[in-house]
């Protein structure tokens, strides 16, 4: 098991290095424009000619590409990657936005996992009946509704017109736990809706497949109650693929993937930082958030693999 972990971790590090290189190619090399053009892009929309020249030199755009890559990595990992538009170091900003994104992800994750499983199990055990069809329709509506639309509608009717919920913004957990919760309810639900529908559909299919497995018939032949069979023999194996999905989705939201939800509710999380940077053509933060997001996904996929090995002994290395 330890060897498996080390091997998997080593692989993850390689993937992260590859990601940094791809980011470098996409943002620095691929757009072209020569050393001056590249420096202008990095320096931002309203940069003075002096700044552009300084950037060109400091980032090594007048030197070979491996020097440029090296200098970029140096900046990335020493918090010297700075947005020239706002003068704020990218890592500091991400660090500051992290609590909002983290709060959003945790709450929404709990909601979508719980209800996704509930929806999947309910529609699977009543497969073909009215309740299953009803749930299916609701799930499809949930999957099809664009987050930005649902978010704006919810905010407009529930927060601005009816004032049932606060109108956006993030309140820190340490500052006021009650307000923190109150402010996050709407974003959590809006973000979770899509995932609930999707997870419910996937789990329903898994359960219906598993019910026909021979070992479920064996469990029946043992004389176990249907409830126990469902919990121990059907659900346990059906949930394994859900673990994978959850790990990766969780990581991607944590890595700033909930751009729309964060922006609609003005949470000032990492996703919104990415959105604002894109609006301003501010490249350093975009690069930073991209890499940071990728690292999260890689890290969580390692966790998923470990948990997977725990859940399914067949892939456990011996």
């Amino acid at each position: 098991m330890a060897a498996f972990f080390v091997r998997r971790l080593f692989g993850a590090v390689l993937v992260c290095i590859a990601v940094t290189f791809i980011v470098f190619v996409i943002f620095i090399i691929a757009p072209g424009g020569g050393k001056r053009g590249t420096a202008e892009r990095i320096a931002g929309k309203n940069a003075s000619p002096q700044l552009v020249i300084r950037v060109e030199h400091q980032w090594g755009f007048d030197r070979p590409f491996y020097v440029q890559y090296w200098k970029l990595m140096q900046r990335m990992f020493t918090n010297k990657l700075v947005s020239y538009t706002s003068q704020v170091p990218v890592l500091s900003q991400i660090w500051q936005d992290m609590p909002a994104t983290f709060s959003l992800t945790i709450g929404a994750g709990i909601i979508w996992l719980t209800f996704g499983i509930l929806v999947g199990v309910m529609s699977a055990v009543t497969a073909g009946r009215l309740s299953d069809r009803l749930i299916t329709v609701l799930a499809l509506i949930g999957i099809s509704m664009p987050v930005f639309w649902l978010g704006i509608v919810c905010r407009y009717y529930l927060a601005e017109n009816a004032s049932v919920f606060p109108d956006g913004e993030y309140v820190s957990l340490s500052g006021n736990p009650l307000q923190w919760f109150y402010h996050l309810i709407l974003p959590w639900l809006v973000l979770a809706v899509l995932f609930i529908g999707f997870y419910g559909r996937v789990l329903r299919g898994n359960i219906l497949d598993t019910i026909n497995e021979d070992y479920v018939r064996t469990a029946k032949a043992k004389g176990l109650s249907w409830r126990r069979i469902l919990r121990r023999h059907v659900l346990r194996t059906s949930l394994i693929p859900i673990v994978t999905l959850f790990g990766l989705d969780f990581a991607s939201v944590l890595g700033g993937g909930a751009i729309l939800t964060e922006s609609v509710f003005d949470l000032h999380g990492v996703g919104q930082y990415a959105k604002d940077s894109i609006n301003n053509f501010d490249l350093p933060p975009i690069m930073g958030v991209t890499m940071y997001g990728a690292f999260f996904i890689v890290f969580f996929s390692v966790l998923v693999d470990l948990f997977y090995a725990y859940l399914d002994p067949r892939i456990r290395p011996t």
Binding site: E213, D214, A221, K222, G223, S225, W226, T237
Partner: protein, 342 residues
Amino acid sequence: MADRLLEVKDLSVSFATEDGVVRAVDGVSFELDRGKVIGIVGESGSGKSVTAMTIMGLTRDVNARFGGEVVYQGRNLLEISDTEMQNFRGNEIGMIFQDPMTSLNPVYRIGEQIVEAIQAHERVDKRNAHRRAVELLRQVGIPNPESRVDDFPHQFSGGMRQRAMIAMALSCNPSILIADEPTTALDVTIQAQIIELIAQLKDDFNSAVIMITHDLGVVADIADEILVMYAGRVVERGATRDLFYDPQMPYTWGLLGSIPRLDRPRPERLHTITGSPPSLITLPPGCKFRPRCPHAFEKCSEEPALENRVETPGHLDRCWLDVGYKRAHREESISGGTSEAA
């Protein structure tokens, strides 16, 4: 007086499907006494597995319709509630299945799965149940059961998994063990061991066995009585000896002919029964085997009843052919048409 455990009376099972009603089992009757082994033989779709699963209550479904009776301990198992049926499953009637590779849950240890079966029916704490699981594994011939009990199914070979399945099926000491093609997925050498094990455990546990197979050779040694099924019906029934030495139904001849044998001249190709079994939705009129039967004549358009047509009592068949004619002509079907040339 024989200790009668199970009586199946005129059992019929049909399933409503989108294509029509599938009449999977039609009018099957047999009795099972303690200490006996009954073999149910037939090809895929003959209704042998559905018969077994129905006894276990595993075919219960909104689309399934049952007729007749399955009487166990004076109660009709077709009529009791699902919860009551749970107490019979595993506890009174144990079952093992065809494919031991997929019949055990891959994510639980062998021991856990046996413990689960024990605890489903008895108030035993985990430690004692675990100890019993080890003992059961020893009884079914798993070497070093103290440590293998904590293995996962994928760490067992096919034969060992089937042994573990048998241990699980016997864990609550059921009166009846139903074995649904228990050796089909195993190597030939392992097959013999498993059959022998089942026969021996039947005596150790003082139970009875229903052995389902498509291979007459599998039940030849251990069955006391054999039912040959075709298209949901019993087409021949008799003591094992009678069935092997005086088979009355051309379908049985075909089955006998398709067993490879060392004591006869080798035909170029193993005998096969031409054609395929009829659709259970639209059955042919008359004898169901008629379309594939080389000996069919006019009378076969009417379905023969399952009755005694030979001197031996208890040997029943569904065939209109004259007994003398059959005894004269069956040899070519049984030993294969081309064998004379070899």
